[in-house]
């Protein structure tokens, strides 16, 4: 596999894993059963990322405020390294994301993890967004403008 599709997959997977609720990811990971052993290269560490906004949404960046982020790094015994970066302070969440990132680089694991973890989490995220949008859509309004007599 060339590096670009692999990078694209890691990007997508890591994004899906980070946006999933940590407890949900942990339960899917547990259901998966035995996985290859890994060494923790960097114990999950809690830190901050400065969130940047853009002036008027599309202009120059500015520092809007920080968010807590937890990161972890692992290495499989077969050598692949994995990294997890997740919002919040759930160390288990970051470590599992790192382990899955490492496994995503092994062809024999990729399909299984996609089916058992990544696709379900992506579907659940999409369902959450659909519910948000559907509830918002119920509040869509069409105001009537009451023109003054004489057309002022």
């Amino acid at each position: 596999m060339s590096s670009t599709p692999l990078i694209a997959r890691r990007q997508r997977w890591l994004s899906v894993l980070a946006k999933a609720p940590g407890t949900r990811l942990a339960s899917l990971w547990q259901v998966l059963g035995p996985t290859p052993p890994y060494t923790v290269l960097r114990r999950p560490e809690i830190g901050l990322v400065m969130v940047q906004g853009r002036i008027s949404g599309t202009g120059a960046p500015f520092c809007a405020g920080e968010m807590t982020v937890t990161r972890a790094a692992v290495r499989l015994d077969s050598g692949e390294m994995g990294f997890g970066y997740v919002r919040g302070r759930d160390t288990r969440h970051a470590e599992i994301a790192a382990a899955i990132d490492a496994l995503s680089q092994r062809a024999e694991w990729a399909d299984r993890l996609e089916a058992a973890i990544v696709t379900p989490l992506a579907d659940e995220a999409e369902a959450r967004h659909r519910l948000i949008a559907a509830r918002a859509a119920a509040t869509r309004v069409d105001f009537f403008t009451v023109a003054r007599e004489g057309g002022a």
């Binding site: 980070a18 901050l48 949404g57 960046p61 809007a64 405020g65 807590t68 859509a137 869509r140 309004v141």
Partner: protein
């Protein structure tokens, strides 16, 4: 000058115990959980995250619980905690156009593409106390309606901008945006630094300043171009990976305010803008921030700087409620030595005045 005091350890320890006791309150009432604060006092959590300048719902909930609901104290606690954490870096700038919006309104265009979506707003409530909330009970789920699956929400600013009627926002700057948490504020500050200051600034202070501009102290005829509130992904490039990944989703409120501008020698008449961005659903704050952001551009736009909201030094130096409450509240600490020296001075002055009056009286009597 403040001279330090010593002692009082036991009394202070007992005071802390008393705070803890008051925090718990009547033991017959069940204790608040952080989840309850997060879920049921969510707007308080949003304010603490915004002004605490740290997006973490459960930390903000903890701070609110510890501060017994004193939000400025909670903001202080969150600010103090963040100083203990390492910085991993800065995110890619948020793309709020990609927001999965819970609310999006424009008061400039009725038929804005994507529609006027009220979302969860208090705007159309009657502000009557709802006594049904005084009792626990089942609450119905919110209704749903078919929605656009692409979540596409064109920006109102882009529509006006296309015709040249609205100034485009300043484009990407060279290098990284300045960061007040890294370097102290130097005046004059550029707009990104001012926006960071305002984003952390006290809602009440900015609300009053924004209000003052509407009442004529630096008026710039604002309209709400657009307010949107919803969920946006945060992208970050970990150095180990070298490519961007989304590390989570956060909720933000954004306000793009559109203001009248008569034009100048260089620029034809057009609408100008002020911008507000806050964590969570903090609409009043985002609006006030946008009003003050625009007011602070007076100099740049060739307007007379005549009012407090336009005075960069005044606004930026007094917007932070952690600094403000620290300096105001330090007055409660023992100032005994300080005050003693003032007492000595005042007594000496009084003695001098009395002596002079006596001498004057004697002189008068002698005449």
């Amino acid at each position: 000058m403040y001279v330090a005091v010593k002692g009082g350890e036991t009394a202070i320890a007992h005071s802390l115990d008393l705070v803890a006791d008051k925090r718990r309150g009547d033991r017959d009432v069940s204790e608040l959980s952080l989840e309850q604060i997060d879920q049921q006092l969510g707007l308080a959590v949003d304010r603490v995250m915004t002004e605490g300048s740290c997006y973490d719902r459960s930390l903000a909930a903890l701070a609110i619980k510890q501060a017994r609901g004193d939000l400025i104290e909670a903001i202080f606690l969150l600010r103090a905690y963040r100083t203990t954490l390492p910085r991993f870096g800065a995110s890619e700038p948020l793309d709020t156009t990609r927001m999965v919006a819970e609310r999006r309104i424009s008061s400039t265009f009725k038929d804005v593409p994507g529609g006027q979506v009220l979302g969860p707003t208090y705007d159309y409530t009657h502000r009557l106390l709802d006594f049904s909330l005084a009792a626990a009970g089942e609450r119905p789920e919110a209704p749903t309606a078919p929605a656009d699956a692409t979540h596409a929400l064109p920006r109102v600013g882009d529509i006006l901008q296309r015709d040249g009627l609205l100034e485009p926002p300043p484009s990407r700057l060279d290098g990284e945006a300045g960061d007040l948490t890294r370097e102290p504020l130097v005046l004059p500050a550029d707009r990104p630094l001012r926006l960071q200051n305002l984003a952390r600034g006290d809602e009440g202070f900015l609300l009053a300043l924004g209000y003052s501009t509407q009442r004529g102290y630096g008026n710039n005829h604002p309209f709400v171009g657009e307010i949107r509130y919803g969920h946006v992904p945060v992208s970050f490039v970990p150095e180990e990976l070298g490519f961007a990944i989304e590390i989570g989703e956060i909720e933000v409120t954004e306000c793009d305010m559109v203001n009248q501008f008569a034009g100048s020698h260089e620029v034809p008449p057009q609408f100008t803008r002020g911008y507000g961005l806050a964590f969570g659903h903090v609409e009043r704050k985002a609006m006030a921030m946008a009003l003050v952001d625009r007011a602070l551009r007076a100099d740049e736009l060739g307007e007379a700087v005549t009012s407090p909201a336009q005075d960069e030094e005044f606004v930026l130096a007094h917007s932070d409620n952690v600094e403000a409450s620290g300096f105001v509240q330090h007055l409660k600490l023992p100032h005994y030595v300080d005050f003693q020296s003032e007492l000595v001075v005042v007594r000496a002055l009084r003695a001098e005045v009395e002596k002079r009056l006596e001498q004057a009286a004697l002189a008068q009597a002698a005449e």
